[in-house]
Amino acid sequence: MKRFVALLGKEHRAVFSSPIAYSLITVFLLLMGYTFTSILFVNKVASLAHIFFQMSALFLLMVPIMSMRLVAEERKTGTLEVLLTAPVREIEVILAKFVASMTLVAVMLALSVSYPVVLAVYGRPDWGPVYSGYLGLLLFAGALLAVGLVVSSLTSNQIVAAVISLGIFFLLWMIDSVGYLLPEPFDTISVNLSLLAHFSPFALGSVFLSDVGFFFSVILVGLLLSVRALARR
């Protein structure tokens, strides 16, 4: 456990000492602030559903930037060799990287709590969809990070990692739209793989165990594959 805490400290330092984290937070808050204000003035409804969809779309673009360096950078600079010849387990390394990246996501989401606070000050929002929306965003970002971590574990080129992650995210985002054109059972499979299909209920205020299970499964499979990729030497 002490080793994991040390690794987590290292990863937190790597995330928050980099200008990338602050650029992402700034851009995220500026874009979401603009969207929140615009939608609020047009609709005059105390709801965050639109914002949650916007945030999820923005995460599709931002998570590859967060995840691309996680392992690829260490592989490229050779520090992975230093890390993995110390008495640490691959799973500790991967978990530390995942948790540190999730902390950045959590900070971004925590700073966006100002939006529901504004709604509460000037209106009476329905808090259920707000809670489910944030839970959905956390699970959604976690799934994206886990997939991004797998890709970053397979290459030493950060740009390649980012581009491939982006491709996979978009494919998983819109796979249900082409799924209907496929014969059985591929149509059902493709619809069930859709990130949007599983995220939408959260944004609209419904929490289904199947959706929670889907995101947890993606996270677990992603972390396991990352560990395998790291152990494959």
Binding site: A6, A14, T77, G78, T79, E81, V82, T85, P87
Partner: protein
């Protein structure tokens, strides 16, 4: 002396490329073993397998009786590793990085500062302890890399091409450092520079194209010196006289070189035997025509084994 590292039939394939081919070697506790070979000869691969970073395609390595694949974590606690080009976290400060590595190597929280201070002193890093690693010179980077390898009191130090890119002064300092570590640690060091291995190692393992060609002693009791002596006189009597000289191990070759002269190769136990051999031959009334040191040095052996091709950088 007991072997702390035992590699048996070590083989490593990278896809269809054979990097290491059935290498077997043993490293004794406290000695410095040098891996010498040109670039691409498999040195780094062997070192990575010793540290548990790579798994062999076949064969085994046991470190203090532990298998590097099945007991990987326990092996990593016994081995401190300095990879080639000293990869470090450039954004971290020296003290911070060494503190992290100490924690990863299982040093108790209350002892981390003491351990880090000790390696600072040992490697003369106090003056740069607060500096960012990315701003350090190559020599200091190498020292920081060695310092992290020393944390957690490992039994074995593995250094991959530690002299790469160092200036002459840094090279001499590094050489002295490695020699100072021998005894307290078992050191395995690789280099493609023959003179570096000759100066720091007790034994040199010569690798070419993934094959271990020879292990040559450079220091200690195994180092055999050889004298070549040309003598006039009856060959059998000369041979019998030479064999009786104290310190002459064996008369390993004799061939006629003239009408009544022969050349003899003598295995001798150490320096100073030449005078004794000369005195014994002259006292016995033989004609001493020539006597010279014929000890095989590492360069001669390397050139002999590799068909006259010196390691690339050594030749440059």
């Amino acid at each position: 002396m007991a072997s702390i590292i035992v590699a048996e039939q070590l083989t490593k394939w990278y896809g269809s490329r054979l990097a290491v081919d059935r290498v077997s070697l043993e490293v004794r506790a406290g000695e410095v073993l040098g891996l010498l070979g040109p670039n691409g000869s498999g040195k780094t691969t062997i070192l990575r397998i010793l540290t548990g970073y790579l798994h062999p395609s076949s064969g085994t390595v046991r470190i203090a009786g532990l298998d590097t694949v099945h007991d990987a974590l326990a092996v990593k606690r016994l081995v401190g590793y300095v990879p080639e080009n000293a990869p470090l976290y450039d954004g971290m400060r020296v003290r911070e990085f060494l503190g992290l590595m100490a924690r990863l190597k299982g040093v108790a929280g209350s002892d981390v500062a003491t351990c880090v201070d000790q390696v600072h002193v040992r490697l003369d890093l106090e003056q740069v302890a607060g500096r960012q690693i990315g701003t350090l010179s190559k020599g200091f980077r190498q020292r920081v890399a060695i310092a992290q390898a020393l944390l957690g009191t490992p039994d074995i130090l593995v250094l991959d091409e530690p002299g790469n890119g160092l200036d002459p002064r840094q090279t001499i300092e590094l050489r002295d450092l490695i020699r100072s570590l021998s005894g307290a640690f078992t050191v395995v060091v690789s280099s493609h520079i023959l003179s570096e291995i000759e100066r720091v190692a007790d034994r040199a393992a010569i690798l070419v194209a993934g094959h271990l060609l020879a292990i040559h002693p450079l220091r200690g009791v195994e180092v055999r010196r050889r004298l070549r002596v040309e003598v006039r006189g009856d060959a059998d009597r000369v041979r019998s006289h030479l064999a009786q000289v104290h310190g002459v191990g064996a008369v390993i070759a004799a061939r006629p070189s003239g009408h009544d002269t022969s050349v003899y190769l003598l295995d001798v136990d150490g320096p100073g035997l030449a005078e004794r051999v000369a005195a014994a031959l002259v006292d016995a009334g033989f004609g001493l025509i020539e006597l010279r040191d014929e000890s095989i040095d590492l360069e001669t052996l390397f050139l002999g084994l590799t068909g006259g091709k010196p390691p690339r950088s050594a030749a440059a």
